[in-house]
């Protein structure tokens, strides 16, 4: 049976046999053009590297390519001879039976549903190329070409992960400083705990059936300050909270009865009382939120934070746009029929009263948007925004530069966003290549790489959008898309991850502003819970540093008003900052008058101070940064009898005075 031919300068060279019907009998090919007459080899490619899963795949055709140098290799079916055939291709390294994906594609060709897969080769390595019949068993043409290695702006490698439910969050659930992968159903929480040694340990925690499932969005945050993050599910009928117990092994369901057509959910300390609250965008009514009294009571409130009668609220994002130390709220809005409910709002926080200033600053636009990406794209010290279109009906993506908090200037023209045609629900900003400039990811399997001058270059990536975090602790943002983790291949750039542990402020430090100072310039981040539309990505502040190899200072400005200064931290790792542990401005004379006795201690630690510290807030963190005691100081005594032996840090705060000491438990 004739199946393959070499199309060399319009000449068809016949190759006889069905050799290419399996991995072990793959036909070696070099650069050139080929004809496949049918996809009918009985082997099912494993793993599936390209998009769109196994589906009806039942057959494949196999070729091998041995690299003679370090090049970018491209396999393409986007040729005239493929006309009308829907192809898919997987690229592997390794041995048949234990193959590893190095690339793959379903539909990237310009010709409808044709495939174009590229990868960078290593000299002497043999790669296996498998076309499958996911969509069609009909014959087609393909080409292999080599080019000088493209220094791709960003590369990811997909790896399958077996999750139970929808992969909705990448967040540190257990307080060990490593991001975990969270997938949920209405009765189960599946956590892939990232191991310090690499890889994951998967746990399934059965829950009572959530009244409201996480169909529209999920947020994570520590509502009860116990060091284990809780979840908030946003459904079309309301929200459900899943509250983690003292060791994160059980989640207790709390399902408020109120109707909310929930869209984006967030955790944020709305009234800045040091206790984390929860916010829910309402699609068809004014927004809703739940005020947390710190005793397990969540009080439902509707009104005061985005009150358009018919809603239109899709993407809430909490951001300190005016650098006044409190979190303001931007609502990305969408609505048909040119209604007021479709006009975006920027709700400025004035001591807990929220006023829409979008008309004043130039953000009251009726672009149909489900989420917007807020970050300091030009590293000038304030938060800019890319309002991401979900439809071009009322205008496209809008890149808006924050000019002194009073005006957002539309700088879309020439930015790359004027010509980018991908539209979608999700828009988030992280520094994916750690070059020190925030990039933006939206729809269309594309990351918009920040060129450093408020323009962006589209970079295709294999991953569709999903929850993001650092799942191999290498300092680069990874992306999860349902059952695949797309690990960022990284580069030589430096980075710093800042993990915030609040003591006076909420424990997660959500709402904190983190600043990084280097000789080459400064960067800022807000610590957030709930960006984009649906997913929950890593909590913390993640800075790319490019080739900058030293940070002069990290400043954390907490919602409480406390400011920490960390001088010359070690880079290329995680810096854990405990609120109040790195103070300046404390009266050193006064501070030195604080003593702990005895130290080492067994049961009761006595705090001896010249000043009155009665009812001061006491927080004790263990060596890993986990909060183990949180109480008020009475008669100067702190009960540490339940602590295990080891080194601890105690923070005692009263008013603006914060004192930090170390002690040892015997």
């Amino acid at each position: 049976m004739k199946k393959t031919g070499l199309l060399s300068i319009a000449l068809l060279t016949a190759m006889i046999g069905a050799a290419q019907n399996s991995c072990t009998t793959a036909i070696p090919v070099g650069a050139g053009s080929y004809v496949v007459s049918a996809v009918d080899g009985p082997e099912i490619p494993d793993p599936i590297c390209a998009q769109n899963g196994l589906g009806n795949t039942s057959a494949s055709e196999w070729y091998s390519f041995t690299a003679t140098g370090i090049n970018t290799i491209t396999v393409s079916t986007d040729l005239p001879g493929t006309q009308g055939v829907d192809t898919r291709v997987h690229i592997y390294s390794g041995q048949c039976g234990s193959l590893t994906c190095v690339g793959g594609d379903d539909d990237s060709g310009v010709g409808n549903n044709t495939s174009v897969a590229s990868w960078n080769s290593i000299t002497g390595t043999t790669y296996l190329i498998a076309f499958d019949n996911r969509w069609s068993s009909a014959g087609f043409h393909f080409s292999i070409s080599e080019s000088d290695p493209v220094n791709s702006m960003i590369n990811f490698t997909g790896q399958a992960v077996s999750v139970s439910g929808s992969s909705l969050a990448v967040v540190d659930m257990d307080g060990d400083g490593l991001d975990d992968l969270v997938a949920v159903t209405s009765t189960n929480i599946n956590i892939h705990h990232q191991l310090a040694t690499g890889g994951f340990s998967s746990t399934n925690i059965t829950t009572t059936t959530a009244d409201h499932s996480a169909s529209w969005s999920l947020a994570a945050g520590d509502l009860d300050d116990n060091g284990f993050r809780d979840l908030m599910y946003g459904s079309g009928s309301g929200v459900t909270f899943m509250i983690a117990n003292e060791d994160g092994t059980i989640f207790h369901e709390v399902s408020p009865p109120e109707y909310i057509f929930t869209q984006r959910t967030n955790f944020i300390d709305i009234n800045n009382d040091g206790i984390l609250d929860a916010f829910a965008c309402h699609d068809v009514e004014p927004n809703c939120y739940f005020m947390n009294d710190g005793n397990g009571n969540l009080t439902f409130i509707q009104g005061g934070i985005g009150d358009t009668p018919n809603g239109g609220n899709y993407g809430s994002l909490w951001v300190d746009y005016d650098n006044d130390g409190d979190a303001d709220c931007f609502i990305s809005k969408c609505r048909g029929a040119q209604q007021p409910s479709g006009i975006n709002q920027l709700l400025q926080n004035n001591g807990g009263v929220f006023t829409d200033v979008a008309p004043l600053v130039g953000l009251a636009d009726n672009t149909q948007t489900w989420s917007s990406a807020w970050g300091d794209f030009d590293n000038d010290g304030d938060m800019d925004v890319m309002v991401g279109a979900s439809s071009f009906q009322n205008g496209g993506h809008q890149l808006m530069r924050n000019d002194g908090f009073t005006t957002f200037t539309n700088v879309t023209v020439g930015s790359g966003y004027d010509t980018f045609t991908g539209v979608g629900h999700e828009h988030v900003t992280y520094d994916f290549n750690n070059d020190g400039w925030l990039d933006i990811m939206g729809a269309g399997n594309t990351i918009m790489i920040n060129n450093g001058n408020m323009t962006f270059t589209p970079s295709p990536v294999p991953a569709g959008i999903g929850p993001m975090g650092d799942l191999n602790n290498d300092g680069f943002w990874d992306i999860v898309n349902e059952g695949t983790i797309y690990m960022n291949n990284g580069n030589n750039n430096n980075y710093l991850k800042v993990r915030t542990i609040g003591t006076v402020s909420n424990r997660d430090g959500i709402g904190a502003r983190v600043e990084v100072m280097t000789a080459q310039g400064n960067q800022i981040r807000d610590v957030r819970a709930g960006e984009g539309f649906r997913y929950m990505s890593s909590i913390g502040a993640h800075f790319g540093l490019g080739l900058t190899d030293a940070i002069t200072e990290v400043i954390v400005r907490w919602p409480s008003g406390i400011v920490d200064h960390i001088m010359t931290p070690t880079i290329n790792g995680t810096l854990t900052v405990v609120e109040g542990a790195h103070p300046v401005g404390i009266d050193e004379a006064e501070a030195t008058e604080l003593n702990l006795f005895p130290n080492p201690v067994q049961d009761i630690l006595q705090v001896i101070a010249a000043t009155d510290l009665s009812n001061a807030i006491v927080s004790v963190l263990d060596a890993s940064g986990k909060l183990v005691v949180n109480s008020t100081l009475i008669n100067g005594r702190v009960d540490v009898s339940k602590l295990t032996a080891g080194a601890y840090t105690i923070t005692i705060s009263k008013g603006k005075t914060v004192m930090v000491r170390k002690f040892t438990k015997q």
């Binding site: 010709g111 079309g236 068809v284 018919n310 439809s391 009906q393």
Partner: protein, 365 residues
């Protein structure tokens, strides 16, 4: 013997405009006393706290037997609501009369007009009995429509005004004796408005001439519904001679695309039309607009990022790459379409769309 006889307002109008506070209308017909509707509907008082106050029904409330003046109707094609059964009625006060406003536009109703719609299931388990869940009212006051939703009590003796919404799990045996389950949604007022919307106004959906130009089995015999409305004085006699109507979507003898057009008009056009909730998506599902297959989404790229699988809203000949089919077949809240009004898929409609997509050629490119 029960019969539906109504005040013939058109005759009264010869003398004077009918008004609620007018004296009793003139006798109709030779020697016959004018039948007076016993419905209680005071625009200054409605919505009443309980459904029985209106006196729309006689005998046991749950029997849903209309009183004089409460006229049953059923659109040619009906909205799917988790396989719930429905009974619909219209009532108008003396002197009120709807006006034709286009084949595909809702009739233009007068103040005081009421549309009444029961939602119920038969063979509800475990007791294998009928269960009426809710009765929705749309009524017109001061030139505007308003909602009132009545939720039935467990005893099925009364329904109480409740606009706060609820989700009701329900298990029933279908026509094939298969046990089905749905999480039936009683809408909040804001959910009502999401579908019953034209720009910022509340509007009815089903009461369009094109949905009523068909025969209905009235208590006194079958009759064209528009003719019936006219004969009882509920509709001005100025209809154009030809009203363009869809076919019945479930008529399997008919053309697949015409059936799809009929289905999406009543199930989807209340969001996917100009001035509606989702008019920013590139589809237009009103019957008057779907003669162009592009408005049905054929070979139109979706603007929502549902994954690279879905190359077009309708990918000719390829169901698996069609986002319309994916959304109609899905039970997942964030995927399923229609957005509101169903928790389970309408299997027969999904099959229709599947057959239709498979019938389409040439391939999109």
């Amino acid at each position: 013997m029960r019969s539906i006889v109504l005040v013939i307002c058109s005759i009264v109008l010869v003398f004077a405009a009918c008004r609620k506070d007018d004296p009793a209308p003139e006798p109709v017909g030779p020697g016959a006393p004018a039948p007076v509707s016993p419905v209680v509907f005071d625009l200054g008082e409605v919505p009443y706290p309980v459904l029985s106050t209106y006196n729309f029904f006689e005998g046991e409330l749950a029997d849903m037997m209309p009183v004089q003046g409460v006229l049953p109707f059923e659109p040619l094609n009906t909205l799917f609501t988790d396989y719930a059964h429905k009974k619909r009625f219209v009532w108008m006060p003396v002197g009120a009369k709807a006006q034709y406003a286009g084949d595909g536009n809702p009739l233009d109703f007068d103040d005081g007009s009421v549309l009444i719609k029961h939602f119920y299931y038969d063979r509800v388990m475990p007791a294998d009995e009928r269960k009426i869940i809710e009765t929705r009212l749309l009524f017109r006051r001061n030139g505007q429509w308003e909602f009132a939703d009545y939720v039935w009590n467990a005893e099925q003796t009364e329904a109480l005004l409740d606009m706060t919404g609820a989700t009701v799990p329900i298990d029933w045996l279908d026509e094939d004796n298969v046990l089905r389950h749905a999480d039936y949604r009683i809408p909040t007022e804001s959910e009502c408005f999401t579908c019953h919307k034209n720009y910022d106004q509340i509007v009815p959906i089903g009461t369009k001439p094109m949905n009523l130009r068909n025969s209905f089995a009235f208590a006194d015999g079958p009759m064209d519904q528009l003719a019936k409305w006219q004969s009882v004085g509920y509709l001005e006699a100025n209809l154009p001679p030809n009203i363009v109507t869809p076919i019945r979507w479930d008529d399997e003898t008919q053309d697949l695309q015409e059936r799809v057009r009929a289905y999406v008009d009543i199930n989807c056009a209340h969001c996917h039309s100009e001035g509606k909730h989702c008019d920013y998506r590139p589809i237009r599902y009103a019957f008057s607009e779907t003669a162009d297959p592009t408005n049905l989404g054929v070979c139109v790229e979706p603007t929502e990022d549902l994954g690279s699988l879905y190359t077009f809203i309708v990918t000719s000949g390829n169901v698996e790459r069609s986002s319309m089919h994916y959304r109609m077949a899905s039970d997942e809240e964030q995927i399923r379409m229609p957005l509101l009004g169903r928790s389970i898929a309408h299997d027969e409609a999904v099959q229709l769309v599947e057959d239709w997509i498979n019938s389409l050629s040439p391939p999109c490119n």
